[in-house]
Symmetry: C2
């Protein structure tokens, strides 16, 4: 009997333990299901109108119409060169972005734009002008073919913000809008999508530098320039580039058909003593690969960095590791 | 024979398939092992001196000694109230941070600080003064107990940057340093760790607002204020707060012992027309939970937002979704 009782007790104990384990596992399963369901619900609702009310916040975002002020809109300055299809695509895209005030096309070809091209561009811009706001389109025709043309001062520019862009780079309007709001908080510095770095060339000494491309930025998380192929900056830097950039640097840029973007980075860093801001954005390169994929590109860019540092008498670039992201697109903080 | 041959062929086919599958699986395993090994190597090397050389970038980061200029260092303005242990802990911590120029303790108690406390704080500050730079410690004793004291203008402040902080909030020096570099790129706006939002109260109309706490910011990814309990701003806003903040708002802050931070956010947004910048940082709250955990907190904060918007004659706060992160700490872009 004693043994039987012990076996019974053991069986009861086992059953009880199994019961508790099952209950625990059921509880865990219910909890897990709940989590998954809530997450799905959250994902489905996030960024929707109902997302706030779901958690009890019924208020909407206060919107201010600041688009009429000089800081409420921006101008696009687009550099182009004999790629009319790309130009048409680009202008058609950017003209649809909200808060765009005007488009300035930097034209440095021997022949002026054809009547057909002008008609097409004007039509696109007119089509996208809305809410009583006419987007202005200006083609700035230059006699001299120089990369300095992209930073020519623009008389009577209505907006403070300039979005400098190549004709073969497309960002969704939401990305442009986001970068513009970042620039509004930091109007003295450059705000762009394409970061680059200058590294001290330890083999050659403290004041010799190496140009660091995308992979070195990706790897180190550090940069000191954002390229003007896709960046916002204050219009005052156009004037500064024309009036105060050493002539030797401008000549170098024209002669080598390169490095106007590094020159602009030097200029802004020299004026602010601060680094630029890199904004995360989805980039679509619609043209063929640029000069950066050609052989000897890094060497030529390093040469520019060293040449410009010597001309400035010091290295004005400041490195940073700041990345500006859109927190609406981030899930775990 | 035919059947036997078919079976043989099937067997050979199966074996061949199994062989291919095994080979594939081995290949995949080798590939996976390679990936894991490379990742581990990368993690081990990242942010180390050798991380750049690993991928062929041998240059170091160019460092500039800008710490002697007004924009190269910052001052801490710390609000405190009868929590001497927290004050001692906080000062001991922040005094060790590089690029700190001076500490200003805002003292609004009836009794002045004890000699013991003063000796302790001075000792801590002296211990951390290095490289020939003496950190200055100033206790600003106020007769009137008002939260406006934390924004009193500081005569002869050497730095442009003010790091406004409560005595019970600790950030690692690396976080402070990062936020400071963000502020250097955006010196006109507030740069802080604690974001808050104002929502339009849709039930009551367009010009009525609800104060949104942390969870609404987390959920929506949107904010329009950063709290002065942990934020960088330009010293010019201290003067502006004293000279241009409506007296009714300052009286409201003193009477209700609340909302000086909202008032400062209104002031800066009104001056810039731009949103602040939220910096991701690890926060350690060393005190007991603050007033935000008390009942009715949200209602009182909403009342402040509405009161101040009425006094300003409009809602100056601008919402944004920018989150500034340290790209050295991010792995996948």
């Amino acid at each position: 009997m004693r043994g039987g009782s012990a076996i019974n007790r053991r069986t009861v104990l086992k059953l009880r333990q199994a019961g508790i384990a099952t209950l625990r596992s059921v509880k865990i399963k219910i909890l897990l299901c709940g989590c998954v369901a809530l997450t799905l619900l959250a994902v489905a609702n996030r960024n929707c109108g109902s997302s706030l009310s779901l958690l009890g916040w019924t208020g909407g975002v206060a919107s201010l119409d600041r688009s009429s002020s000089p800081r409420g809109r921006y101008a696009i300055v687009m550099n182009t060169w004999k790629r009319y299809d790309l130009l048409k695509k680009s202008i058609s895209h950017y003209a649809s972005c909200p808060r765009l005030d005007s488009i300035h096309i930097v034209w440095s070809e021997p022949d002026p734009p054809s009547d057909f091209l002008k008609r097409f561009l004007n039509h696109v811009v007119d089509m996208n002008s809305r809410n009583g706001h006419q987007i202005e389109l200006i083609v700035d025709i230059n006699n001299k073919d120089s990369l300095n043309n992209r930073f020519k001062d623009i008389k009577d520019l209505k907006t403070d913000a300039v979005f400098s862009i190549d004709d073969d780079v497309i960002f969704p309007c939401s990305s442009v809008e986001f970068a513009f709001t970042v620039w509004q908080s930091a109007p003295d510095t450059m705000v762009g999508y394409v970061p680059r770095m200058h590294w001290v060339n330890e083999k050659e000494g403290e004041d010799k530098y190496i140009y660091g491309g995308w992979w070195s930025v990706w790897w180190s998380g550090t940069y000191s320039m954002v390229l003007s192929k896709a960046a916002f900056f204050h219009k005052k830097y156009l004037k500064l580039y024309n009036d105060e950039m050493p002539a030797s640097i401008k000549e170098y840029v024209t002669r080598n058909r390169n490095c106007e973007d590094i020159a602009m980075s030097f200029l802004v860093a020299n004026a602010t003593g601060a680094p630029p801001i890199w904004v995360k954005g989805k980039i679509f390169e619609i043209g063929s690969t640029g000069i950066s994929s050609l052989g000897g590109h890094s060497e030529r860019r390093s040469e520019c960095v060293n040449k410009f540092a010597a001309e400035f008498g010091r290295m004005p670039l400041v490195s940073t590791s700041l990345k500006a992201i859109d927190s609406r697109n981030v899930w775990f903080w």
